[in-house]
Amino acid sequence: MTFTDAIKESRAGPRTRGKMSDEEKREAKIGYAFISPWLIGFLIFYALPMVASFVFSLMEFNLATPEDAKFVGLSNWARMLFDDPNVWQGLWVTTRFALISLPIGLASAFLIAVLLNSTNLWGRNIFRTLFFAPSLVPFVAGALIWSQVLNSQTGWVNRLIELFGIPAVGIDGIRWLDTPVLIPFTFTFIGIWSIGNAILINLAGLQGIPTALHEAAQIDGAGYWRRLRTISIPMVTPVIFYNLVLGAVGLLQYFLQPYVLNGTTGYPEGATNFFMIYFYKQAFAFANMGYGAALAWLLFFYGLAITIILFSTQKYWVYYAAGD
């Protein structure tokens, strides 16, 4: 019996719980002992703070004057859902950015991984290192560098574009960080610079595909693109799904780049008023912990809904070889 079969069998019928033997009790105790660090950590650092933050969301609670904290029922929630346009703007800006950035990021990571997996690529290890290296640069330092590189007056990106005869420098040029419609693409561009981790995971997925599959297809006359489409991509869909879920959740919490590049002003025209920026302002800049907690819960529910939707789609496109 394989491990998979054992799991299937264990799930097949109703469980009957008999009296545990001494051996089973001993094993259970050891099992609990092993997972207890995680359980304790989860309770202290996740479960209890989550409960506390929910309670805070029902209170008017300013960190500077905790003695004035008072229970306000659902008024924070009502304000958030019905009376604060910044909330919906934040959710829209974040969602729009995710819809643009996520497909581009996933496709780029996969395509670069395919390239780095190619046996025809000279100096593969060098390229792998080079593509991964930016991931090691701290985000803040990276963002500051990009702010100079993309400066519409003095940055070298615009100066490079001008070499091709396209007017890019100056007030009427390409203002990467000042034009609302460009903002999602600019931030996506900055994000692609540090997709080394996603590339690495895709690469591991590609290298995990049994070579026998490719060899058999080759013998049957399948060319490179056919094999990529019908073997490589389906076989790495679990990896793509993994990157998709993590990417979606990560983008909902998108904060650092807009914070470093545009502060908390939302400039230009609210295009950088990401939800997390607004949450940060309310909770930590204005010290409105009650309202900030309500915002955090809204983001949690939003992220949960998106994750559930993504998981519900996996049966249509994610291929798990172990299921066959």
């Binding site: 029902l58 003695e67 004035d68 519409s152 002003t265």
Partner: protein
């Protein structure tokens, strides 16, 4: 069954929120830090007596009290100044000026950016510091409502050495947060090399004096004259100024004037003091001088091209934000806290000059003043005030001011500070001392409703306006109060 589980969860959450609300404090509960109505002895061990001294304090009853001085809300976290602050603390602990039972402990926040959050966490955790500072108006605003009113504790404390306006400056919403100990007046800084290259005479050092040009002609030293000089000092890569045909603003390599490190209230105060809230402290207004200022700055950036916009201002050609230090700007206005570190990389000679007047002849040199406050949540308010009085004394306060590069707020100590070679930063301090006679009242950082959110809303508005070359400034002016009033109203609510 499912319904009952749901009800059980709801009930649990409700009970927990009630418990939390009950633990959150009672509005009617006695505030340990509040003085009694008669200002005399009270039931708490922290109340002041009539003469401003401590009536019944823990220290007086023989209990050892350690006063913790939290540093990080303003200056004080840089490595070089920490030992100097520690020396003050050591001196207190060795001389025991308030008796054997009171000691002082320095607590410097490891990260200045996180200091406010750290102190908030300490307050919520029941471990509030006893003294916190130095802190400016913005830093103090993050704890609005959380500061102890020291007025009832001051008693007959001699305030004659302080400018009354400065003492009143730290009275916000009827609460005396602290006493001023260091002041940082604003002056005009100019790059002498760029003036020489342009063949321009230097701006006047004396407040109210006229500008005398290279040919000996006198002009009033006002914002129009400053604008003329600034245009002459602005140069593109071909050496052309905005007055020349063919000037390319996209190829600028030198700027004439910039008002550095300011929000709009700070910028606009060059045109006169004001605030966005009316005397009723509720209604949004837009002062006329500031309407002029909004148009002037927008034109300076996009029409006259002598003031850096954000794109150039953040670039390396202008020192990534420290414009004057780059050597590529002729004049800036900034406070004296810029001395030393601000010009560390500037090779050219520079000096400071008087602030120009507005069109009505009014000079406004805006002022920063630091204080040290006492969190209301301290366990030892009476002892903390006594320590604060010691820190604000004639002997200690000037030394504290010097640590942070500020002119002592005590007027008797200012001359000695200016004459001290240790405070020679290559400019004429007499100009800065004169600037103290032209403070902005109301201050550009003065209280307004919902301080932090209002400031944030104003910053969003000004950022949009100044980054749009084609912005309709008058329409923007009309729109601001529409943005601010709901934020004000939320504070009233």
């Amino acid at each position: 069954m499912k319904v009952s589980k749901f009800k059980a969860i709801l009930l649990l959450l409700f009970v927990m929120s009630l418990i939390a609300a009950a633990c959150g404090g009672d509005d009617d509960a006695d505030d340990a830090a509040a003085p009694s109505d008669d200002g005399g002895t009270a039931t708490t061990d922290a109340a002041p007596s009539d003469d401003g001294g401590t009536a019944t304090t823990a220290a007086a009853s023989g209990e050892a009290v350690e006063i913790r001085w939290f540093v990080g809300l303003g200056a004080g976290t840089d490595a070089p100044v920490i030992p100097q602050q520690q020396a003050i603390v050591d001196e207190f602990n060795s001389t025991k000026p308030l008796g054997e039972n009171i000691s002082l402990k320095l607590d410097v926040a490891p990260d200045a950016d996180q200091a406010a959050t750290l102190m908030q966490t300490q307050i919520v955790g029941g471990n509030a510091p006893d003294i916190a500072g130095p802190v400016g108006v913005k830093g103090a605003a993050q704890f609005f409502g959380g500061w102890l009113d020291i007025n009832p504790y001051l008693g007959d404390y001699d305030l004659s050495d302080f400018d009354p306006a400065l003492v009143d400056f730290w009275n916000q919403g009827g609460v005396q947060l602290g006493l001023p100990f260091a002041v940082f007046p604003q002056v005009l800084w100019y790059n002498q090399e760029l003036f020489d290259e342009a063949g321009l005479a230097y701006p006047p050092a004396e407040f109210g004096a006229p500008y005398v040009d290279a040919d000996g002609n006198e002009k009033p030293w006002d914002l129009d004259t400053l604008r003329e000089l600034a245009i002459e000092l602005t140069v593109d890569s071909s050496g052309l100024t905005p007055n020349d045909d063919g000037f390319d603003p996209n190829a600028r390599v030198q700027w004439g004037f910039g008002n550095m490190f300011n929000d709009f209230r700070g910028n606009a105060t060059l045109f006169g003091a004001g605030n966005f809230v009316d005397a009723d402290n509720e209604t949004c207004i837009f002062p006329d001088d500031w309407k002029t200022a909004a148009n002037w700055y927008h034109d300076a950036m996009w029409v006259d091209h002598f003031h850096p916009d954000a794109t150039f201002g953040d670039s390396e050609i202008l020192g990534s934000g420290n414009w004057f230090n780059s050597g590529n700007i002729g004049m800036i206005t900034i406070h004296t806290w810029y001395a030393g570190w601000g010009t560390a990389d500037l090779a050219a000679d520079f000096d400071v000059a008087a602030i120009p007047s507005n069109a009505g002849g009014v000079i406004t040199a805006k002022l920063h003043a630091d204080t040290i406050g006492i969190p209301k949540a301290t366990s030892h308010p009476a002892e903390a005030v006594e320590v604060l009085k010691w820190m604000m004394s004639e002997e200690i306060a000037p030394r504290l001011a010097a640590i942070y590069g500020g002119l002592p707020a005590r007027e008797s100590a200012q001359a000695a500070y200016v004459d001290d070679p240790a405070n020679d930063f290559g400019f004429d301090w007499a100009v800065a001392v004169d600037a103290l006679s032209y403070p902005d009242n109301p201050n550009h950082e003065a209280w307004w409703p919902n301080y932090l959110e209002s400031t944030d809303a104003m910053n969003e508005w000004w950022t949009e306006l100044t980054n749009d070359p084609n912005a309709d400034v008058d329409a923007g002016i009309d729109a601001l109060c529409g943005l601010l009033q709901p934020v004000f109203d939320r504070d009233s609510a």
